[in-house]
């Protein structure tokens, strides 16, 4: 599903590479944590999987598509098979929970009728049934992140990328979000999550890949934060 083959990325003006000869292979349906200190290169991996950053060396293959050589005009269509969740939720403040999720469908050409059928379903799935018409500022942080997860998942992507999704949430809420991601993973969606949260990693007992200074220092099947 996701392959990084001897990937090296050095940002312009950086003294050392953010990723240094990294090779990782992630299968369909896996749940993977990338952990490591700030600046270790975890987020660079997410950006590469989104075709936002192109490696200097090596090959990145996502969904059978070589991202390294992908032309930028193909990026929009490629991204439709990837869902994305961030620490800061990135919701539209002037739209309700329903509209935020529907927006993601409508801008890729789905009709309003499709949205009416699919959006309530996915909001129900993330546990926001009955709060469809609340605005983000009327929702708690955890609920906002649920909206973001619903938006990422509404298109049934093959891969869900989560860049520190619990970074702004308290421990209890974080665990709820993790349960949600776990449920999504069980539908067959590959989940890749970047995190600092040792608590969560230790509880989930999933594959853990630890990165330090751009190198993989640990890749453990049922790992802990360490």
């Amino acid at each position: 599903m996701i392959q990084l083959e001897q990937v090296t990325k050095t940002y312009p003006k950086a003294s050392r590479p953010s990723l240094d000869n990294v090779s990782v292979s992630i299968d369909k349906g896996e749940f993977v944590f990338f952990i490591g200190p700030s600046g270790s290169g975890k987020s660079t991996i997410i950006k590469m999987l989104l075709h936002e950053v192109i490696p200097n060396k090596g090959r990145v293959v996502v969904n059978g598509k070589d991202v390294t050589s992908m032309r930028s005009w193909k990026r929009p269509h490629f991204r439709r098979s990837i869902g994305c969740v961030f620490q800061d939720f990135r919701l539209l403040p002037n739209r309700t929970a329903y509209e935020n999720v529907a927006f993601a469908l409508e801008v890729i050409g789905k009709t309003k009728a499709v949205a009416r059928r699919v959006v309530p379903e996915v909001l129900e799935l993330v546990g926001l049934g009955g709060k469809e018409h609340r605005y983000p500022h009327e929702l708690s942080g955890g609920e906002q992140q649920r909206v973001a997860v619903a938006r990422a998942f509404v298109n049934r992507p093959l891969i869900l990328l989560a860049d520190e999704p619990t970074g702004n949430l308290d421990p209890d809420t974080s665990i709820e979000i993790m349960r949600l991601l776990d449920r999504i993973n069980r539908t067959g969606t590959t989940v890749v999550m970047v995190t600092h949260d040792s608590n969560i990693v230790n509880q989930m007992r999933r594959r853990v890949i630890e990165i330090e200074s751009g190198r993989i220092v640990r890749d453990q099947a049922r790992g802990v934060y360490g």
């Binding site: 269509h77 991204r79 439709r80 994305c84 990135r90 927006f103 801008v107 890729i108 050409g109 938006r151």
Partner: protein, 291 residues
């Protein structure tokens, strides 16, 4: 559905920053009016040149002491010249009549000039009025010829004036166009900034580039089209109030500007206004949104 979304975004976009939108439309309108006016002047000058040059005369004035022999010699040479289509002889009496007609409002001048003080002349029509110089060179040195005068030289000065007017309109159009384009670029930047969250989400979930750009580009195109409609209105007002109104006394002097010609400038103005705004918006977005 998507079209409806794009169109409503365009309207919201134009309304969100309405003072800037108005500034953009006004500068576009002025620029396009200047462009249209300069185009009209250009076609009019061409029309008028044709009109005037058809009726233009070259006059060969003879010396006061010209002999009969010289006169007939000149006449036969003129008749034989292939560059000349028509020769008319004007004797002293006829010249005096013409002079009296021309200056009938200035009796002082009339009383000061006697009939035999005015020179005889040949009035020539040229096959090609632009060949005045050859005629002049040929005949100015002939015995008995005083001077060769070409009306087209005077006309050229008038036409130079028109061309200068056209150039001024064109320069003003370009200057205003630069201002308009900067305003378009700025408006689009402001619009893109105020919609940066939407754009970020759209890029994230894989909305196509054209779909992200379309509302912004169309916003600029709509402004360009409104500008060109206002430009057409300005040209109509110019025709009604200036040409058919204040300047109607000079109607014989100018070639008339028809309604057809005024309306024909509209597709040009709309095309230029719409296209240039669209390109500016698109280029701005490429730098600003990096889509």
């Amino acid at each position: 559905m998507r079209m409806k979304y794009v169109l409503s975004e365009v309207l919201v976009g134009l309304w969100r920053n309405v003072t800037m939108t108005i500034a953009m439309i006004i500068t576009l309108a002025v620029s396009l009016t200047m462009l249209g006016a300069s185009g009209l002047i250009y076609t009019k000058v061409a029309d008028m040149k044709q009109l005037y040059f058809e009726n233009i005369e070259v006059s060969i004035f003879l010396n006061a002491d010209v002999t009969e022999e010289q006169r007939t010699d000149i006449a036969s040479r003129l008749e034989a010249d292939p560059l000349i289509s028509q020769v008319t002889y004007v004797n002293k009496d006829e010249a005096f009549q013409r002079f009296q007609e021309m200056f009938r409002d200035s009796p002082d001048l009339l009383s000061a000039v006697k009939a035999d003080q005015l020179p005889e002349s040949y009035r020539l029509k040229l096959v090609n009025p632009e060949e005045y110089k050859t005629i002049s060179d040929q005949y100015v040195a002939v015995e008995g010829v005083d001077q060769v005068v070409d009306q087209s030289q005077v006309l050229d000065k008038i036409f130079n004036l028109f061309t200068a007017g056209q150039n001024i309109a064109l320069v003003a159009a370009i200057a205003m166009a630069v201002a308009a384009l900067l305003l378009v670029a700025n408006t689009i930047q402001v619009a893109a900034y105020s919609k940066r969250r939407e754009v970020a989400v759209m890029k994230l979930v894989g909305a196509s580039n054209w779909f992200i750009q379309a509302p912004f580009v169309l916003e600029a195109v709509v402004a360009g089209l409104i500008g060109s409609v206002l430009g057409l209105g300005a040209l109509i007002a110019l025709k009604v109030f200036l040409f058919d109104g204040a300047l109607s006394a000079l109607q014989g002097l100018f070639a008339p500007v028809s309604w057809g010609e005024v309306f024909l400038t509209f597709p040009v103005m709309a095309g230029v206004g719409g296209l240039i705004s669209a390109i500016t918006a698109w280029v701005t977005l490429r730098f600003y949104l990096r889509v």
